[in-house]
Symmetry: C2
Subunit: 461 residues, 2 copies
């Protein structure tokens, strides 16, 4: 920081403190923590301050000061992102909405809830369950990630093929623009086509268009009955992927269908002190729910057996819990292997076997092991690049580059549910094309003409 930049920063900080008092946090450890998210990537330099907003007025006031002084603002919830989208660097204001965590309204008769952005997904769902309701988006991070963060990234999860993604579950958002003005986007009714759908545009926009300070969520009633759970082991990952594709093609819709490749399965079994699986063995974990859960589980078991799988159908909830625990232990198991870069490509479901072939090819070409877990019901893969040390080695980025290009070739996308953030911005134009990339950047500029909202994220060259 130069001297004049330093005195400007002091002036911005002075205005924030004058306006927002103790909501301005300059604790060095807190500032340092705001540089990183769960991707492990950290921004350069130290942010100026964290504003811990308690209400919409705090957000508006922060943005007015940022706008007047041309200071970048990074909106942050729980900091559980995986693409660096909420990482704040040198001289930036961190605008934390984590403290805005109230449920403002629940309407069982209209199946909607109005919430603040900082509430944790799981806390919301615990409150809704008491009324027999739920909000369907279920990212694996749901115990630690906020609804606002889920909206900012357009989060997915395990249940998406049957119950949809965040975009399907939000009717409206309240958005503070970069100059502090508050807009109410969307509606409270099931249908509504008044003007352009800015609600959908904000979902997945990763803090570049405005600050989400409230959301009207579309709820579902809790699914009646008990779910049924089964696993199917296959001799190799390709046949497991083919098994998953056969389930999709059969027309029976599981609630959850997860695939773990051999490297994942081995690491998890080691972590949980279970007997080591045979070499190469991959596993599907399937759950059905609703009134036809038992019949659907039986039909899926038959399809997977026919496809060469060895099926184990949980007889009771305890056994189901054990089977699910293997899938849920994936991330802790990866941490035992080294530092991981968790990737997030998505392909049409029929392309899953081909995508696993590509991953195997990249493993050989780069002499890497890439343990991969996959939401096989919707074609979203999370290949984990494992390495030692804090920084992603060039070789891993080269391998990731090949992974992204393979996904695009197969009709897929760079990111199914984690977003672009900083880690994927250099590939964004590869998927969008230069014309669309430029159009998107111009749209972001309409919302934020001065470019103070999350600069360097998503669209940065």
């Amino acid at each position: 920081m130069t001297d004049s930049a330093g005195s400007e920063a002091a002036s911005v900080l002075g205005r924030l403190v004058a306006a927002l008092g103790e909501r301005v946090d300059t604790d060095l450890a807190h500032l340092d923590a705001a540089r990183a998210d769960k991707s492990g990537h950290a921004a350069d330099g130290l942010p100026l301050a964290i504003v811990r907003a308690r209400d919409v007025g705090d957000v508006q006031e922060t943005l007015r000061i940022a706008h007047a002084t041309g200071t970048p603002v990074v909106t942050r919830g729980a900091g559980t992102g995986l693409a660096g989208g909420a990482n704040a660097g040198d001289g930036e204001i961190v605008l934390s909405v984590r403290g805005m965590d109230r449920i403002l309204e629940v309407r069982p008769d209209d199946l909607i809830a109005v919430v603040e952005p900082g509430i944790l997904n799981a806390d919301l769902n615990r409150a809704l369950a008491a009324e027999g309701l739920w909000w369907a988006p279920d990212p694996a991070s749901r115990e630690i990630s906020t609804v606002g963060g889920n909206i900012a990234t357009g989060a997915g999860g395990l249940l998406c093929a049957k119950y949809g993604v965040v975009r399907d579950a939000v009717l409206g958002v309240d958005l503070v623009l970069s100059d502090g003005r508050l807009l109410r986007l969307g509606h409270r009714s099931v249908k509504g086509v008044t003007g352009l759908d800015l609600t959908s545009l904000v979902i997945g926009s990763e803090g570049t268009l405005g600050v989400v300070v409230g959301a009207t969520l579309k709820l579902r009633r809790l699914v009646p009955g008990s779910p049924r759970t089964l696993t199917a082991s296959f001799p190799d990952v390709r046949s497991a992927a083919a098994g998953a594709a056969a389930v999709t093609a059969s027309g029976v819709q599981p609630a959850i269908m997860e695939l773990m490749d051999a490297a994942c399965l081995r690491a998890v079994h080691r972590l949980l002190a279970l007997p080591s699986p045979r070499d190469g063995v991959a596993q599907l974990t399937v759950q059905t729910d609703g009134p036809a859960a038992t019949a659907e589980a039986a039909a899926i078991a038959a399809t997977l057996t026919e496809a060469g799988g060895t099926v184990r159908l949980a007889r009771d909830e305890a056994e189901a819990e054990l089977l699910l625990r293997i899938r849920r232990s994936m991330h802790p198991a990866m941490e035992t292997l080294g530092t991981t870069l968790i990737e997030d490509v998505s392909v049409p479901r029929s392309a899953l076997p081909a995508m696993f072939d590509e991953i195997a090819r990249i493993e050989r070409a780069y002499d890497l092991v890439i343990p991969t877990v996959c939401h096989a019901g919707d074609g979203n893969l999370h290949p984990n690049f494992v390495f030692t040390g804090d920084d992603v080695p060039d070789r891993v980025w080269q391998a990731a580059d090949e992974l992204f290009r393979a996904a695009l070739r197969l009709g897929g996308t760079l990111t199914g549910e984690h977003g672009i953030g900083v880690l994927k911005r250099r590939w964004l134009a590869d998927e969008l094309g230069d014309d669309q990339w430029e159009l998107q950047r111009q749209i972001a500029r309409v919302f934020d003409p001065a470019g103070i909202l999350n600069p360097g994220k998503v669209f940065a060259p």
Copy 2:
């Protein structure tokens, strides 16, 4: 038209004919027909020509000429809109994509189809049914409206509460910009969050952002089993609305739940030569589907009986067809009453009884009869303002103004599924607020800097 405007028009027409030959239609009767849609409203003046595009290249060529000459372009499918959004006036080029009606790809294993915009919704669904698939959006116009038109308006229909609206059923669109460049928006995978969601932005944008020349649709498998159908008669419309709200609150999800008020029911019974219903009697028509159809129909019958309804459960398909025919005869029955302005407000489902109170109040205040049919499962009402002559009388617009304001007060929207077009543009800012209205207009300008796409629609002051 002035002389110089006339010679400019001749020059544009010359360029179109030189480039597109016999695809340029200047038949006066055809030009006249392109001035109006099913709303009855017609644009002033006569369009310059109709370009009957056969492929993407035709669309691009037309837009290049329009862009070079600053000529307005009105994209048109089957012309079945109800808000005047595809009506073409003086000197405008009508770009018809009705002839681009091919199904390019159907993938049962990925549950997607890729289609051209001009295919009729019902033709698509007949082709998909042969493979056990369907595209869920089912506007009442499905036999005569195109998929491209459904996308342009963000159409709804009868099944939306259970199976979603167009926005939930489109993964990507191919869009030709106003200068002729082609963009491919969206993706083919279930999940995808790469950059801003321009696909959703295009859905419902009514021809103001670009020309949709292709769409990747999210399909469903045909619902197994036979649906069950029932009607419930209530002594007045308010109790029928309360009955519908009780069904929603009970947690059982009908596929269809339609409400006809007394004036509708009387007109339909007269048209079909059925015994006249008692004064004031309103009726719900409900259909359940899927594996639990019979149990759900019984549960709904119990709820509606409890709510004071007289329930008739169809014993077989013939009787079900008879019950549904009453609802389907709504539009022909309205045509027997006079000219109608079909309105389209939507409110949260719990507000339905209050909205019917407002309609009754407006009927009394303006000495009008406003027969109203309602998608009660999702809170979308179609009040029909009946009058004589071709032009909507001022008194009817004043009553409609009160209707829109009442819907907004109840937390609803101006339009659930028909769009803004020209008929509702003067109310758009009332719902969006001035700041959002201006922001939306600026976003449209990013797509179409010269303002040649459907000028005067949606955002015109």
